[in-house]
Each structure stands twice: as structure tokens, then as C-alpha cells.
């Protein structure tokens, strides 16, 4: 009987690329079968509190609430160096954010436990957060249902096409304040796997993350082009060239 390993990540190209080797086979040893779960990051944060998956992506901001159940893996983190979640608004609203007082301003955010929201609260404690699914945020702002929106994933690169302008980049703000990169997301492993298995899992994930880009140097069955194609359904308006 095969051992089932539950692996969960969000439906975005970065995660899909990273987990390609695990999900499509070729990295896990014989005798293992993957249960692959795709959910938005806020749902993954909630599921992690229940300890549903052995390996899961979570927001860094959600880690304190799951620290008793999970260890952080050294591999798989999503880290911004001088860039990060971007606060965007319609051009006519930009003046409202020039003031230090944001009390009463409504900002569409990707969820209460996301690192993006935590960073924005650190930078500007006073505003009204409007929970919004991450891929709907640009549209919510464009339609005037929020004064601004906190965009993550591909929308960080595509918001201008929707007529929105940048208010601030929280990755840059964080770097200016601390001189450090910002760990936005983490991969974590459930503690009940035990340390030995957890370390083994870290090794397998590292191998999986390397595998799509190592086809020539390692005898690996997963060419880069297949891994990139695998990510496209979640690319949200990005072309393959980006």
C-alpha cells in the first residue's frame, strides 16, 4: 500500500513550478503517492490551523497560529528582496494616500492572515480592511468598491494595465526599514512526521524545486518547458515571456 503525502499550495505559477516535481512524479521515492491540494492562501492558512496537510504553503503572518503543529522548511519560501505586495489605487484616489492618516480609507486586502496585510498594518495601522479574494482585488479597486487594493502574485506586475497606480511597495518599505528581505510565504511540515522524515522531506522538496531547471545536469525527466506549461493555468494574465 502506498504512503499518501498531502501537499498543498496556492494556485499561482511560482508555487506550481516549485511543486511540479513532487506532484507530477519523479522526485518522491517508490511507494509514495501525492494528494495534491490547490487552494487560495487564506484557505491554506485556515487548513493549517487544523493540521490538515503534511506539507503546505502558508502565509508567514499565519505561522504564529500554527507554530505548535508545524516546523518551517528551509526550502520553498517566497521571499521578496526590495519588492513585495503593492498597494494600488485609481489615479484620482492617490491624493488620499499622501496623508499619514489613513483612518476610514477602505483597502481591499487578500485575507486577515496574509503577510501582505500584516506589512500594511505595520506601515499604516489605521485603515479599514476589506477581505477580498486576491485575484479580484484589482477589479474591486477599478470599480470603486474600495479606495485602494493590496495586490499580490501576478497582479503586482499587471495592475498598470488595468489603469491603476502604485501607492507603495511594501517590500521596498520593509527593506528601507530593516535592510532585510521579506519572507512572504513559507512551506511548513507537520511535526507529527518527526524530525527525520521532516528533514527528508526538506531534501525531496529541494530536489523537486531544482528539477525543472536541472534537466541537463541531472538525469531528470522533467524538462523546464513542461514545468512552465504546467504553471500557465494560474498565470493570471502574465505571458510565458515574463
Amino acid at each position: 500500500m502506498k504512503r499518501v503525502l498531502s501537499v498543498a499550495h496556492s494556485p499561482d505559477p511560482d508555487d506550481a513550478f516549485m511543486f511540479y516535481g513532487i506532484v507530477k512524479g519523479g522526485v518522491l521515492p517508490d511507494g509514495w503517492r501525492v494528494k495534491h491540494v490547490l487552494k487560495d492562501i487564506q484557505s491554506l492558512n485556515r487548513d493549517a490551523r487544523k493540521g490538515l496537510y503534511e506539507v503546505t504553503a502558508v502565509s508567514t503572518a499565519a505561522f504564529p497560529s500554527i507554530a505548535r503543529k508545524y516546523w518551517i522548511l528551509s526550502v520553498g519560501a517566497s521571499v521578496g528582496r526590495g519588492y513585495g505586495p503593492v498597494l494600488v489605487c485609481r489615479p484620482e484616489n492617490r491624493k488620499a494616500f499622501a496623508s499619514k492618516n489613513w483612518a476610514g480609507l477602505r483597502i481591499a486586502t487578500p485575507g486577515p492572515e496574509t503577510t501582505a496585510l500584516l506589512l500594511l498594518r505595520l506601515a499604516h495601522p489605521e485603515f479599514v480592511s476589506v477581505d477580498t479574494r486576491f485575484d479580484k482585488i484589482p477589479d474591486v479597486v477599478r470599480r470603486g468598491r474600495a479606495d485602494a487594493g493590496l495586490v499580490i502574485h501576478e497582479s503586482q506586475m499587471t495592475f498598470a494595465k488595468q489603469g491603476l497606480v502604485k501607492v507603495m511597495d511594501l517590500g521596498r518599505w520593509w527593506h528601507n526599514r530593516t535592510g532585510l528581505p521579506i519572507p512572504l510565504g513559507l512551506d511548513v511540515v507537520r511535526k507529527d512526521m518527526g524530525r527525520v522524515e521532516a528533514r527528508r522531506m526538506a531534501g525531496l522538496l529541494k530536489k523537486a524545486f531544482n528539477s525543472p531547471i536541472a534537466t541537463k545536469t541531472r538525469r531528470c525527466a522533467m524538462p523546464l518547458v513542461l514545468a512552465v506549461a504546467w504553471t500557465q493555468p494560474w498565470a493570471n494574465g502574465l505571458s510565458k515571456c515574463r
Binding site: S78, P181, M201
Partner: protein, 44 residues
């Protein structure tokens, strides 16, 4: 994906501790967690 994805490293760990400390000081998170980072076994 960048080098941090393959290894969070000491700087990444410092960034985590800084983020949790600042967030905890403002009571934006429930605890300032004492965490451990699991790295691949040497043979991994």
C-alpha cells in the same frame, strides 16, 4: 523562484524573527513564536 527559495538561510531567519518581533510589539499576531527551521539531511 530565487536562491532564498532553495535555502531560507541566516538572513531569511533573521527577517522572520524581525517580522514576528515587530508584529508582536504591535499585537498584530497572537504570539511571537519560537520556531525551528528544518533543513535537508546532508545526504538529502
Amino acid at each position: 523562484m530565487n536562491r532564498d527559495t532553495l535555502d531560507l538561510g541566516d538572513e531569511g531567519e533573521r527577517a522572520l524573527r524581525t517580522l514576528f518581533r515587530l508584529a508582536w510589539a504591535r499585537r498584530l499576531i497572537s504570539i511571537n513564536p519560537d520556531f525551528e527551521i528544518v533543513r535537508p539531511a546532508v545526504s538529502g
